[in-house]
């Protein structure tokens, strides 16, 4: 049964970025929305839950988290992918949906998916969580499902969770979700977060539908994308040499470039990086050129935190208060 009182009509993306701007130094967030040719202002879906808090079991395809969800009449696997801006559908299975908008190549770094064709899903449900009138990008996910050997209907990206507290437990293969109502926005903390000595708390930015954490290394502040769709951690090869004095290269590797091309990248082990006061220990990283990872007004990401980091601990987020929790 749906609880009418728990319907939350979400704010527009415009307002989201305006709010997120407070966490991102010097970013004129409202101006960014109005950049011609970047991405259209989209409305957020209406979210409702059968119960205020729910536990959603997940399975895995390699290191990707698969959640069973239903998009209108199609039921199947969706990948939890915080590297995606919102709901992304596999073109193969949603080709016949009407096109609502299209994005140019330049849209890719601003939040929308480059080269995608947008559409609308009337209802998206994962367990007791329901979204209504959900705008979605459509891209070809065929290569990923061929590699993983499982049918993948789409990706569940950041904007779907921005009203939630979310705790991901890789050990138990469950995600706990709580839809935060406006009246509890300032104070809500789930049961698992009551014992504040059990976890570390860090601020995050949610900008351009990306989750960004601040780290520090060799005296330099670094911005990392939190990406559950990334199997490896990634470090930008263009960072100053003093950063790489803390990286031991282990191997050269070929990774996917544009189209069918392969480009050289490196695997290494990074040490001496801190998040707040927490030393992150030795982290395996893929080192590649992230010049295309820049977003709004010359803000660039220095790396990505993927499965190799995120799966080491129970990890939680409050996307309303912009907090990340890492269990000890």
């Amino acid at each position: 049964m749906l609880l009418p009182g728990r319907f939350v009509s979400c704010l527009s993306l415009f307002l989201l970025i305006a709010a997120a701007g407070g966490h991102s130094k010097g970013m004129p967030s409202s101006a960014q929305d109005n950049q011609p040719g970047m991405f259209p202002v989209r409305s957020d879906p209406v979210v409702a839950m059968d119960t205020p808090t729910c536990v959603i079991p997940f399975t895995r395809a390699g290191n990707l988290i698969l959640i069973q969800a239903k998009a209108d009449t199609s039921v199947g696997n969706f990948v939890l992918d915080t590297g995606a801006p919102g709901l992304v559908l596999n073109m193969t299975y949603f080709r016949n949906y009407p096109t609502r908008y299209t994005e140019g190549e330049e849209g890719g770094i601003t939040g929308a998916v480059a080269g995608q064709i947008g559409t609308m899903v009337d209802q998206l449900s994962m367990g007791p969580v329901h979204y209504y009138h959900c705008e979605a990008d459509r891209i070809n996910l065929g290569h990923i499902e061929s590699i993983k050997g499982v049918k993948i209907l789409g990706l569940l990206g950041v904007s779907l969770f921005k009203r939630f507290e979310m705790v991901i437990d890789y050990e138990k293969n469950i995600i706990t979700l709580h839809l935060i109502e406006n009246k509890e926005a300032a104070s809500y903390k789930g049961e698992q977060l009551r014992d504040t000595s059990a976890y570390h708390e860090f601020p995050i930015d949610v900008v351009d539908q990306k989750i960004i954490v601040h780290t520090e290394m060799a005296g330099k502040k670094l911005l990392f994308l939190v990406d559950f769709g990334a199997e490896s951690n990634v470090l930008d090869s263009r960072l100053p040499n003093k950063i790489f004095e803390n990286v031991t290269i282990t191997s050269r590797v070929q990774v996917a470039g544009s189209g069918t091309t392969k480009i050289a990248a490196m695997y290494g082990n990074l040490k001496n990086m801190k998040m707040g006061n927490l030393d992150l220990g030795v982290m395996p990283v893929l080192i590649t050129n992230l010049e295309r990872m820049c977003y709004s007004y010359n803000h660039c990401l220095d790396g990505m935190l993927g499965f190799d980091f995120l799966s080491m601990h129970k990890i939680g987020f409050n996307f309303v208060k912009h907090k990340m929790y890492i269990w000890k």
């Binding site: 590699i147 050997g149 990406d227 769709g229 480009i263």
Partner: protein
């Protein structure tokens, strides 16, 4: 200003002196050490630093350690010419006793696209690391439980049993048999645990219990498998073959060994029964050869009259599951010996000796559903099946020969409507290694058809109409391939 500047000078002077000392001692140490060989990142570039006189063995180890075999370092050090390095975009310079070889790290065009980011950061799992589908390539299997018997199987219905956990309020069963659905198989509480009945055909299945939302492997099942990276599931085989060896009750150990387990001698331990030894196994459809190993002594199954010769001049027992296919080679009546060899028996040419008839040679051989390649060895000379129009030539044919292509139990018929004027339509896909001339479709009324066997999972295919590659116009599922064209997509369910 001057006072300020002077103050700063005094502040940095001790630091400069310290730096000079560091350089001095580093220089001394550098001379005393062996030539440097490092691989690092500097100024956004791959940065290789190698001693001019590095020994070949050290260079080889260095290249192996960092996977640098493809960049032409060996040739550079052999010839002292940098042509090959330069062709690959590397710059080099000599600084004292070191070569510095560098190349900018390029940006992947995939960033900014969520699918591209997943692909960029993926760890390239092997096929074995992927979560396998039921019966897909699984030849055999057996169950090993502790504290409880293997799940009862009656009339094809398996009773899954979770021992204990009686305080849980609800328990679900999830597995490969229900696509890991988390809410479709509720278990029932009994006095000793939870049970759920599932109708399953013989084969391999993966499962887990979910007690009050918490995933658990079956602690009483010895068999569990990792899906590649950390996700462990319990394994259960619905068996279809009981091996029995009567007698030998005084023996200490008895094992079953066969073509299905690559003849590993001590893997399949048989269990004592009242009359001797036994082992219940899942075997895939097809022809399997086997022997028993009793206290180290190999023997054919004394109760099984079906045998085939082995390489030791003895015999292996044979078990056949499924329908036999009769291989027939017309002619060659003057030949002394004809041997059948194919992908189904690992291309062995000393096992399947054909029987001579008045008009040629024949051999019945049981094969499970699938697509196979085969040839005949006629008095030492390979020939393909002259009566089989399906010939595969695009595969990895080491002998430079073609093979005949056989499809057993097709489970899917590809159809292409129209194209009535076409002279030749070929079906091509991942199931025949994208061969462009093997699977010639037949015209039935207004439709070109071809039946094939497709394994469980995803398949990609196209039609070739008079040389032109096209996707299936009646299949709404297609995806772009790496060449920028499209492939049709089909998923085969269990």
């Amino acid at each position: 200003m001057e006072i300020k500047g002077g103050g700063r000078l005094w502040k940095i002077l001790p630091g400069c002196m310290l730096l000079l000392l560091v350089f001095f001692f580093t220089g001394l140490a550098g001379r005393a050490q062996a030539p440097v060989h490092t691989y690092s990142v500097r100024d956004g570039q791959e940065y290789i630093s190698l001693g001019v006189n590095i020994k070949k063995g050290t260079l080889d180890s260095f290249m192996k350690q960092y996977n640098l075999a493809s960049i032409g370092l060996q040739q550079f050090f052999r010839t002292r010419r940098a042509d090959s390095l330069q062709r690959l975009g590397w710059r080099h310079k000599r600084t004292g006793d070191l070569y510095i070889i560098s190349r900018p790290l390029l940006s992947s065009g995939n960033i900014g696209n969520p699918a591209g980011q997943i692909i960029l950061t993926e760890k390239h799992p092997t096929i074995q690391e992927r979560f396998p589908a039921v019966n897909n390539g699984v030849l055999y299997g057996y169950n090993r439980f502790r504290h409880k018997y293997p799940f009862a199987i009656k009339d094809g219905v398996v009773t899954f049993f979770l021992k204990g956990n009686t305080r849980a309020s609800h328990v679900q069963l999830a597995g490969s048999f229900n696509d890991w659905s988390t809410g479709s198989l509720a278990m029932s509480l009994t006095d000793s645990g939870w049970i759920a009945n599932v109708r399953l055909s013989p084969g391999k299945y993966w499962y887990k219990f979910i007690a009050d939302g918490e995933w658990m492997v079956d602690d009483d099942n010895w068999l569990s498998e990792n899906d590649g990276l950390g996700n462990t599931n319990s394994v259960f085989y619905v068996t279809n073959t009981l091996f029995q060896l009567t007698g030998f009750t005084h023996a200490g150990k008895a094992f079953l060994s066969g073509s299905f387990n690559e003849w590993r001698p001590d893997e399949l331990s048989m269990v004592r029964t009242g009359a001797g030894w036994g082992l219940s196994l899942y075997l895939a459809e097809g022809t399997h050869t086997y022997r028993f190993v009793v206290d180290g002594e190999w023997m054919a199954d004394p109760a099984n009259p079906n045998r085939l010769p082995n390489e030791y001049g003895e015999f292996n027992s044979v078990i056949r599951l499924g329908k036999p296919y009769v291989f027939e080679l017309a002619g060659y009546t003057g030949a002394r010996k004809v041997v059948l060899s194919g992908s189904f028996n690992n291309w062995r040419n000393d096992e399947l000796f054909m029987r001579k008839t008045k008009s040629g040679w024949t051999l019945p051989y049981t094969l499970g559903p699938g697509n196979y390649e085969y040839r005949y060895l006629v008095d030492g000379k390979w020939v393909i099946d002259p009566k089989n129009p399906l010939v595969i030539s695009d595969g990895n044919d080491k002998d430079g020969m073609k093979s005949s292509y056989l499809i057993i139990d097709p489970n899917y018929t590809f159809r292409l409507k129209g194209h009535s004027d076409a002279k030749r339509v070929i079906l091509s896909g991942d199931f025949d290694n994208w061969s462009s001339n093997t699977l010639a479709m037949k015209r039935e009324g207004n439709v070109w058809v071809f039946p094939v066997h497709l394994s469980i999972g995803k398949h990609l295919y196209k039609f070739i109409v008079d040389g032109e590659w096209i996707t299936d116009p009646d299949n709404g599922l297609w995806e772009q391939n790496e060449k920028g064209t499209d492939n049709s997509v089909i998923w085969v369910d269990k």
